[in-house]
């Protein structure tokens, strides 16, 4: 162990960061694979059926089987498609989904942060990167040269940019309380009280917009099967479809991480249970949030599109603004 630590200390810094980055990506992709299996299992149980249970014990090798199938599947490009942009779109989705993990901290050990980069404008960088993700979906649907993908992608773009507004407004309440945009700083500010208590409305708005941003039920109009076949990825097959799929689940994971960092106290332990390490608390909170996502999918029906847009612009946006003004008022009066 000491020899390992000594070798690591002697290694150049860039090499250490490179290894850390590769490991982190591996963890993210593995989490995606098992989040998907977990979701199918949970949906199965909620519908009184066993879920995937054929590949490996308890269906645990299902993700590997799915990956092999997607990799070997024929890669189709419709002749009406724009070949370059058609191939570029899943790449954009995937890279933006992966890139946000550069700034997300997962825990803290004796004052040193478990993160690739402890950026002091963390939350700004996070939003800047993740808002590029909409390009993948809108370009993918447009470049397919087919009707359903086009309709799906235009819907998706309008939905995602509308809900992004309320989402960025729901962060402002947290920023007022924390007084910093550094994600680690926001977690430190929650040492005595997690922000979902004073920011309960902000948290509610964040959860709603987060579900809409990741295009999940009840906001999955982007791929409303009964109307749009598969939505923006109707024409995609094989690993290109897989890229969109990975991006969607990795984005879910990101959203769960942000909810944990901003509202659920990050790696702070509840009720003074500090004998469990902070990183485990972080994982548990993220897991609980992911479960909530899947629970929603099993429970709620889909919105109607006009109601979705009216809800975003006429209710969520004023509610988020009101929330931040009330927060500011309380901070201004109490200091």
């Amino acid at each position: 162990m000491d020899a390992l630590v000594a070798t690591l200390n002697a290694a150049p810094l860039w090499l250490v960061i490179l290894i850390k980055s590769a490991l982190l990506l591996l963890v993210v992709v593995t989490t995606f694979a098992y989040a998907m299996l977990f979701e199918r299992k949970i949906l199965g149980w909620m519908q009184l059926r066993p879920g995937p249970n054929r590949v490996g014990p308890w269906g645990l090798l299902q993700p590997a089987a799915d990956a092999a199938k997607l990799i070997l599947k024929e890669d189709l490009t419709p002749k009406t498609a724009d070949p370059l942009i058609y191939r570029l779109a899943p790449f954009i989705s995937l890279i933006t989904a992966f890139a946000v993990y550069a700034v997300i901290p997962f825990g803290e050990n004796n004052g040193s942060l478990w993160a690739i980069g402890d950026v002091n404008a963390g939350i700004l960088l996070l939003m800047a990167i993740s808002s590029i993700g909409v390009y993948g979906i809108s370009l993918g649907g447009w470049a397919s040269g087919s009707k359903y993908p086009l309709l799906g992608s235009v819907r998706a773009t309008a939905q995602m940019i509308s809900y992004e507004l309320s989402m960025s407004m729901s962060f402002v309440g947290v920023l007022i309380l924390a007084g910093t945009t550094s994600l680690a700083g926001i977690v430190h500010a929650q040492a005595s009280m997690w922000f979902f208590i004073p920011q309960c409305f902000g948290f509610l708005i964040y959860v709603i917009t987060a579900v809409a941003e990741t295009n999940r039920t009840p906001f999955d109009l982007v791929e409303a099967e009964t109307e749009l076949v598969g939505g923006f990825h109707t024409e995609y097959s094989g690993l290109r479809f897989g890229s969109f799929f990975i991006a969607e689940y990795v984005n879910m994971l990101t959203v769960a991480c942000i909810a944990t960092l901003l509202f659920l106290g990050g790696w702070n332990a509840p009720f003074g249970l500090t004998m469990i390490p902070g990183i485990l608390w972080f994982v548990m909170k993220v897991g609980a949030f992911l479960f909530f996502y899947m629970w929603l999918r099993a429970t709620l029906p889909r919105f109607r599109y006009d109601r979705l847009m009216a809800f975003g612009w006429k209710i969520l946006l004023p509610a988020a603004t009101l929330n931040l003004i009330i927060t500011a008022l309380i901070v201004a009066l109490r200091g």
Binding site: L13, W14, I17, S21, L25, I71, L72, K73, E74, D75, L76, P78, T80, A81, P90, F91, L94, I95, F98, A99, A102, I116, G117, D118, V119, L124, G145, S146, K147, Y148, L150, V154, A158, I161, E164, L165, S168, V172, L175, I176, G179, T181, V229, T234, E235, G238, L239, R240, I246, Y305, D306, A310, W313, K314, T321, L324, I325, A328, V331, A332
Partner: protein, 117 residues
């Protein structure tokens, strides 16, 4: 190697991983094209018309409104971080901003910019 150096290195690794997912299908999955496979999907029938055509102007309007309101949302951020120092002064300054924003918002609402039908 301030934090942004590590971030840049991580982005390179993420880029490589995403590139792998983009290049692999061309290497492993052999295409066997035929005329029907290459057609755009339309529930099994031959596509009846081209995709380009008239499109509801609503979507365009939403995109325009987004640009306006997103810029305004961004201007809340620096203010929010300094709120503990600004106190009452900050609140009043922002109240003026929100009133102006609210007038624009009410105008768009009255003109029907937020209703889909």
């Amino acid at each position: 190697m301030a934090p942004y150096g590590s971030v840049a290195l991580y982005l390179c690794v993420a880029l490589a991983a995403a590139l792998l997912f983009t290049v692999l299908p061309g290497l492993l999955a052999k295409p066997k094209p035929n005329a029907h496979k290459d057609e755009a999907y339309e529930c099994g029938v031959e596509p009846t018309s081209s995709v380009s055509g008239r499109f509801p102007v609503r979507f365009y309007l939403i995109a325009m409104l987004f640009v306006v309101f997103d810029v305004e949302a961004a201007s809340f951020y620096p203010w929010a971080v300094q709120m503990h120092a600004l106190r009452m002064f900050g609140l009043l300054e922002m109240a003026v901003f929100v009133v102006v924003l609210g007038i624009g918002y009410a105008y768009v609402w009255k003109k029907g910019g937020f209703s889909w039908r």
